[in-house]
Symmetry: C2
Subunit: 452 residues, 2 copies
C-alpha cells in the first residue's frame, strides 16, 4: 500500500476502507507508513488502526511521531494505549519524551506507575533497563492443569508464554516451556516437569553481556534476578537482537572515527553528521603535528635524496593497514568475549609471529618492486638497490610495530576500563605513522653514506 492510496482515501473520507486495510497489515508496516503523513493526518490515521494493534504500532514509531500522538491523545486514549503497552516499551518511549509529556504518561500509568519507575531507575545499559515485568510465574506445587488455568486468566497480559517461571517466595526455581505445558498431562506437577538451572542475569548485568548469552545459549528469554536471587523481570530475544545490532553499529562508528549516533543515516541532518564527524577529524589532524615535526627534522636529508619522499605514502599506508588488521580483530574479539585482557601475552605472541611473516613477505615483494618497476622500468631518479633495501627494511619493521601496537592498545584500553573500539584504526594509524617515519629516517641515515 502506498502513501498515495491512503491520501486519496483520506481525502474522500473512506475511513471504513482505511480501517479494513489496516486490519490486514502488519503493525510494523503501519508504523513505517505513518511518518510519511503530516501531523494532523497522522493523528487521524492512528485513530483508524484496529484497537488490538494500536499499541503495537505505537511502540514501533519513531520518537517524533510518538510525541505528536501523545500530545494529541485525550486522557482516555492515552490510558488505553498505555494499558496495552508492555513496560519495557513504555520505558523506551518515556526516555525520549519531554518532561510535560512524561508527566502526563506517568499520571495515566495507573498501577503500572511503580513498575515503570523501577525500570527507569536502573543504570543505562544494564539488564534492568531493558527488561520487561510482564511474565508468567508458576508455583512448584501447581499441576499443569492449574498452570493452564492461571495462564488462561493472565496470559494475554504477559509479553511471552513461551517460557514460564517457577518461583517460590519470589526465588526462581526453574522454567517450564510452552512445549511442556502443551505436551504434559494435566495432573503432572510443575516441580516434576520444570527445567532446573536456567540461565539468569542480574539487574546490573551489562546488556551487551546479556545479548551474548542469548547468542550462546539460543534461548528466547532470560530471567533477571535481584541481589536476593528473586526474579524481577525478563529480557526477551527481540531486545537482545536490538542490542547486538546497536553494539556492532557503535563499534563500526568508533572504528571509522565517528562519535556514536543511533539515527538512520538518511534521517540524520547534515548538521548532526558534521557534529559526530568533526571532533575526531580535528583531533587526528592536530596529532599529525608529530609526524610533521619528524619529517621537518629530517628536511636536510630529504633535500639531499628527494626520492625517499616518494615512499612515505606507501610506508604509512601499509603500516596503517597492518595495524588496523590487528586492532579490528582484537577489538571484535574483545566485544564478542572471545578474547580477554588476560590473553594479552598470547595475543602478542601470535601477532609477533604473524607480523614477522607479513613483514618479511611484504619487504621481499617491495624490494623487487622498487628495483624492477621503479628502477628498471620507470627509471625513477635516485632509485637504486640501496634505496630499495632501506625502504624494504623499514616496511618490515613498520609492519611488525604496527601489528604489535594494534593488538596491544585495545587490550590496554580494556584494562583501563576505556572503550577498546576508540583505539581503532585512526588512533593507531597516527602512532604507527610517527614510528614508521622515525624508523625510515633512522635506517636511511645509517645505511646510505650520502646522508650520514
Amino acid at each position: 500500500m502506498t502513501k498515495e492510496v491512503f491520501e486519496r482515501l483520506l481525502e474522500e473520507k473512506h475511513y471504513k476502507a482505511i480501517k479494513s486495510i489496516f486490519d490486514t497489515m502488519n503493525p510494523v508496516d503501519i508504523a513505517v507508513l505513518l511518518p510519511e503523513f503530516e501531523d494532523k493526518q497522522l493523528v487521524l490515521l492512528f485513530r483508524l488502526i484496529p484497537k488490538e494493534s494500536a499499541a503495537m504500532v505505537f511502540t514501533y514509531l519513531e520518537p517524533e511521531e510518538e510525541q505528536v500522538l501523545l500530545e494529541a491523545f485525550t486522557d482516555n486514549e492515552l490510558k488505553t494505549i498505555m494499558d496495552d503497552m508492555f513496560i519495557d516499551d513504555t520505558v523506551d518511549v518515556i526516555e525520549e519524551m519531554p518532561a510535560n509529556v512524561v508527566e502526563r504518561m506517568l499520571a495515566a500509568a495507573g498501577d503500572k506507575r511503580n513498575a515503570i519507575n523501577a525500570v527507569l531507575n536502573y543504570p543505562e545499559d544494564s539488564a534492568g533497563s531493558i527488561m520487561t515485568l510482564e511474565y508468567i510465574s508458576l508455583y512448584p506445587t501447581m499441576t499443569i492443569g492449574d498452570a493452564l488455568k492461571k495462564i488462561k486468566s493472565r496470559g494475554v497480559h504477559s509479553e511471552t508464554v513461551n517460557t514460564c517461571y517457577v518461583v517460590e517466595k519470589h526465588k526462581l526455581l526453574g522454567t517450564v516451556s510452552a512445549m511442556d505445558l502443551l505436551t504434559c498431562d494435566d495432573d503432572e506437577f510443575i516441580s516434576d516437569v520444570m527445567e532446573d538451572n536456567p540461565i539468569t542475569v542480574t539487574t546490573l548485568t551489562d546488556k551487551e553481556e546479556v545479548a551474548q548469552l542469548f547468542n550462546k545459549y539460543d534461548v528466547l528469554t532470560i530471567p533477571v534476578l535481584d541481589n536476593e536471587k528473586c526474579i524481577v523481570g525478563i529480557v526477551t530475544v527481540d531486545d537482545a537482537i536490538d542490542v547486538i545490532q546497536e553494539e556492532a553499529e557503535e563499534d563500526f562508528q568508533k572504528m571509522a572515527a565517528i562519535a556514536p549516533t543511533d539515527k538512520p543515516y538518511l534521517k540524520t541532518s547534515v548538521w548532526n553528521l558534521w557534529k559526530v564527524r568533526i571532533p575526531w577529524l580535528l583531533l587526528l589532524m592536530l596529532s599529525a603535528t608529530f609526524t610533521g615535526i619528524i619529517v621537518s627534522s629530517f628536511e636536510d636529508a630529504l633535500s639531499r635524496l628527494v626520492v625517499l619522499t616518494a615512499y612515505i605514502p606507501m610506508l604509512m599506508g601499509t603500516g596503517g593497514n597492518s595495524g588496523s588488521q590487528a586492532s579490528v580483530t582484537v577489538i571484535r574479539g574483545l566485544s564478542l568475549g572471545e578474547v580477554e585482557a588476560k590473553d594479552i601475552f598470547k595475543v602478542m605472541w601470535k601477532e609477533i609471529r604473524v607480523s614477522v611473516l607479513c613483514g618479511v613477505s611484504l619487504a621481499v615483494a617491495c624490494f623487487f618492486k622498487i628495483v624492477v618497476l621503479d628502477g628498471m622500468i620507470l627509471h625513477t631518479e635516485g632509485v637504486d638497490k640501496l634505496v630499495a633495501l632501506v625502504v624494504a627494511l623499514t616496511l618490515c619493521a613498520t609492519v611488525i610495530c604496527a601489528k604489535i601496537i594494534g593488538c596491544v592498545l585495545p587490550i590496554v584500553a580494556k584494562v583501563l576500563k576505556l572503550d577498546p573500539a576508540v583505539m581503532a584504526s585512526p588512533f593507531i594509524t597516527t602512532i604507527v605513522d610517527a614510528v614508521s617515519l622515525l624508523v625510515y629516517f633512522g635506517v636511511a641515515k645509517s645505511l646510505i653514506p650520502a646522508l650520514a
Copy 2:
C-alpha cells in the same frame, strides 16, 4: 566445573558422579568443556552425557570434535544422535565433514535422508539452506482441542511450538501462537483464532534479508515458502542471530582489509592469519606505486621547498579518515537496508554539504595551527602564511573529494553486484591519497611563485 575436576573423576573412574554433574549442566557449557580433553577422554565423556542432552551438546561442538565423535560412534549411537538432532543442525554438521563420515551419516539418517538432501541442495546463504523442517502444521478445520491432541503426539519432534502453521493443501494460510493455544477454548476453530498474513520468505531469499526481517518484525520464526507458496520449512530466531553476527563480523573484516574467516581469533593458526591478511596488504602496497609516481614527478618542486613534505602525512591521514567516515556509514546503511542504490543522489547531496562543513572547519583550524604553532612557536623552516594557505586549501579540497568518493564507491559496488564492504577504508584511502597529492602539488605550484 573446571577441567581438573573432571580429569580427577575420570582417573578414579567415578563415572556416575560425572553423569550427575552433567545432569545439572547446560548442554552449551558441556560443549565448551569437552574440547579441552584429548580424543579418547572426549569420547568417554560424551558417552556419560544424559541421553536427553547428548544431541544438543553434539550440535554445539566444533567440527573437529564432532568428527572425532562421529568416527568413534557405533552405528547404533550414530542413529540415536541423528534421530534426536534437528534437520538444520544435521546439515550444519554434514557440511563440515569429510566424505566417508557424510556417507555413514546419510546411511544412518533413515527417513530424514530426503529432507537432509533437500536442505543440502539449497544455495549457500539462502533461507532454504538455514531452515529446519521440524515445525507443527495445523488445519483450519481443526478445533483448538484437536490441535492440542496433535501437538501432544508430535510436539517433542518439532524445533518450536511457539508458532504453529495453519495449512491447506500445503499452502500457508496463517499462524497460531502457543499463547492462542493455551488461552483459547478447546472448541474454538483454528480458522477463527489464526493470524492472517504472516511474514514469509522463499527458499531463495538471502539469509541476511531473512535476518533483517526478524529484526524488523520481532518474530520468533519465519516460514519458508516454495514457488507454489507451499510451506517447506521454518527459520528460527537463533539462526537469525547467528546470521546477524556473522554478517557484521564479515563487514568488520572486509573494512580492515582482511579476507573473511569465521574462526575465533585465538583458535586461528598464525599461518591462517597470515593467509587472510597478506593479499590485501600486498595489493594496497603495490597500488601505492601511483602515489609514489605522483610524488616523484614533483621531486623538483619538493626539493626547492622541502617543508611541503612535512604536511603530506597529515593531508593523507585526514583524507583517509574523512573518506572512511563516509564509506563506513554508507556501507552499514546498505547492509542494514537503510540506504538503497536508488538513494545515490540523496546520499551524494548530503555528503557534499557535510564535507564542505567539515572541510572548511578543518581548513580554518589547520591554517591557524600552521601559522601559530608551526610558524611562531616551533619556528619550522620555510613555514609562512602562503604555505599555510596552500595546505589549508588542499585539506579542504581533499576532505570534500574523500567524502564524495567514500559515499559513491560502496553504492557503485552494490549496483555492480560487488560487495560494498570491500570498497571500505583501505581501498578508498589509496584513491584519496593519489587525489590529495595531485591537488596539493597543483595548488602549491599555482600559488607559490618560487615553484612556478
